[in-house]
């Protein structure tokens, strides 16, 4: 678990997480500038989770699904950030042709089965991907992200039970950012360790520190390979924190300043930077170059999205039925 990663991989992870962070910051600005509307749930603070998990799988082959905090995962899987932002702006060049929006990013090409707006609703779908893998005797896994509060939903429990009785190669990942909207998970769940939910289904379980991307990646790598080999599902609790409110319109007054400051002191980007400096994977001025490189990517993504056309009205009736 403490296994060192190559300098090259550390740099790649850092840039990926930085891209997620800067994209989300820009998205927050675009929202405030009223460039788009609807709900907008930012992922800032949780970047090490998607980078750690999604680099541990075979991108484009293994299946991935998540909830509504879904801007970053598809980009880590390989979606063009411009296509993601175009979807936010409701443009026809967006991944769902402007008909999905912030909560419904999809990319069939990357086997990204979407962002889903109903809390916990995506969990049985992940079991369905697991069923398909088993049915076709494939060497793949199904990765399902959900929030801490989604683990209180009935559909979550139904899906875990089915995955356990049928040995489906599913990795259910609770991204525990400690709050379901504005309600602390400690107020809505009788367990302090959410991964203990696995015990009810005789399922393997694991806890991961989701601030440390090196740990997250190493631990997930083992979990993914074990799941691929045994086709036994697992429930993983990844401990993380969202630095912003539930959505852009939420100032987050239910949390104390002290709490947020304390959590921000364990920023996944800062922690990785320290590791990289200690391991001499990068020098201090390299980080400025990373910032410039990522800023260019974000600018290009936003420019592509803003320059893209709106869907024509005839798009309305397309894709209601096949």
């Amino acid at each position: 678990m403490t296994q060192k990663l190559s300098n090259q991989l550390l740099v790649a992870f850092y840039k990926e997480m930085l891209l997620g962070r800067r994209l989300e910051e820009r998205i927050g600005q675009l929202y405030v500038q009223q460039k788009f509307s609807g709900f907008c749930h930012l992922y800032i603070g949780q970047e090490a989770v998607s980078t750690g998990c999604l680099n541990a799988i075979r991108k484009g082959q293994d299946y991935v699904i998540t909830g509504y905090r879904d801007h970053v995962a598809p980009v880590v899987l390989g979606m063009d950030p411009g296509v993601m932002i175009a979807e936010l702006l409701g443009k026809v060049t967006g991944c769902a042709r402007g008909k999905g929006g912030s909560m419904h990013m999809f990319s069939e090409k990357h086997r990204f089965m979407g962002g889903h707006g109903i809390v916990g609703g995506q969990v049985p779908l992940a079991a369905g991907a697991g069923w398909k893998i088993k049915y076709n005797k494939e060497d793949l896994v199904s990765l399902c992200f959900l929030g801490d509060a989604a683990s209180n939903q009935g559909q979550f429990h139904e899906a875990l039970n089915m995955a356990a009785i049928w040995d489906l190669p599913c990795i259910f990942i609770i991204e525990n950012n400690k709050y379901g909207m504005g309600t602390a998970i400690s107020r809505t769940c009788s367990l302090s360790n959410l991964s203990d939910r696995a015990k009810a289904y005789n399922m393997r379980q694991a806890v991961v520190d989701g601030r440390n991307v090196v740990n997250t990646y190493n631990q997930m790598k083992e979990i993914v390979e074990e799941t691929r080999k045994t086709s036994k599902p697992i429930l993983v609790e990844i401990q993380t924190y969202r630095f912003r409110g539930h959505s852009v319109s939420d100032p987050g007054n239910y949390r104390t300043k002290e709490e947020v400051e304390k959590e921000r002191s364990r920023d996944c980007l800062v922690l990785l930077k320290e590791t990289m400096l200690a391991q001499k994977a990068a020098k201090e001025d390299d980080f400025e170059k990373f910032e410039e490189e990522i800023a260019d990517k974000v600018d290009a993504a936003v420019a592509f999205a803003e320059d893209s056309p709106e869907p024509e009205l005839d798009e309305l009736y397309k894709h209601v039925l096949v």
Partner: protein, 325 residues
């Protein structure tokens, strides 16, 4: 042509499609080792094995959702709901996921799935086991909905449903699984969205589907004795609806009665009347009538239950009302 019961016709359709296409599987409560709660899947486990005929836990939302996920990944699930009353637990998966996936993903993710099972009242099953769900589902875009109890139609429509790339909901009736009729062997396909004239007539159009077709036929036979000629239209498919077959009939008879099981408030019958009034206003010689369940939960008592459901008396009264008799 063989004489088959409704359950045998459905069984034959599913079995033939599973033989044809290895990506089709059947999942639901009691479908495998118990041979189906209503024996619709009798013998299928022995034929296809436990990966393709799968007993699920009692988790309607769970296995409906599993079906959605499997369909998004390229399989073609048939999900049996022991009854559509229980499927209400799975409405999130049906409405929020199956119906909208293609649209929300901008055409990337199809959900080629069939969800089937009996709906409506059976006999003295009381309020929670007697519900019609068609009116709850027809107004959600992205679904196809079939409602039939005719064995030949059921076979042909089930084959179409399994081959369809959309999510198709199939509404049957538990009282009528044992009802038999002639069913063509082998490749018998009935297209989705095409209604049928069940009985030609000239005085009044009576639109009825599912088990109401039987009541319609009884009523038509009864009224024939009085010299009233009833044309029965069975749309078979509620969504998409074969509107033309209804319009053409009304243009001929100039009178419309809709006979539907289920509550009448904001019902599918309302939609039919709305469409007919809009499209055939000048052809109508009387305001259309509707016969529906009374607007109460289903009582257990047999006499009361009978009274809640559309009766021959109320249907005859509605027909006479549009004939001003």
């Amino acid at each position: 042509m063989a004489i088959l019961t409704l359950r045998e016709a459905l069984n034959q359709a599913m079995s033939e499609e599973m033989e044809r296409d290895p990506s089709v599987f059947l999942m639901g409560e009691e479908v495998a080792e118990y041979d189906g709660a209503y024996k619709v899947s009798k013998g299928m486990l022995a034929k296809f094995g436990p990966m393709r005929v799968v007993d699920s836990p009692i988790s309607e939302a769970g296995f409906a959702g599993l079906g959605v996920g499997a369909a998004m990944c390229g399989l073609r699930p048939i999900i049996e709901m022991m009854t559509w009353n229980f499927a209400i637990q799975a409405f999130d998966q049906i409405i929020n996921h199956a119906a909208k996936m293609l649209y929300m993903s901008g055409g990337q993710y199809k959900v080629p799935m069939v969800i089937r099972g009996p709906h409506g009242a059976a006999h003295m099953l009381s309020a929670q086991h007697s519900q019609c769900v068609d009116h709850m589902l027809v107004n959600c875009p992205g679904l196809k909905i079939i409602s039939t109890i005719d064995p030949a139609d059921a076979k042909g429509l089930m084959k179409s449903a399994i081959r369809d790339d959309n999510t198709v909901l199939f509404l049957e009736s538990e009282m009528l699984y044992g009802r038999s009729g002639e069913v063509p062997d082998g490749e018998h396909i009935v297209p989705i969205g095409v209604g049928v004239v069940k009985r030609p007539g000239s005085d009044v159009t009576l639109v009825a589907w599912n088990k109401m077709v039987l009541l319609a036929q009884d009523v038509a036979t009864e009224l024939e004795k009085e010299g009233i000629s009833v044309e029965i239209i069975d749309p078979r498919t509620l969504m998409p609806l074969d509107e033309e077959i209804i319009f053409n009939s009304v243009r001929k008879t100039n009178r419309l009665v809709v006979l539907e099981e289920g509550w009448g408030v904001a019902s599918f019958g309302c939609h039919i009347v709305d469409r007919v009034v809009k499209e055939c206003f000048d052809d109508l010689d009387a305001p259309p009538e509707r016969v529906t369940n009374l607007f109460v939960p289903m009582p257990y008592n047999e006499r009361l239950e009978h009274e809640v459901m559309p009766t021959a008396e109320r249907t005859i009264a509605a027909i006479k009302a549009v004939l001003y008799k």
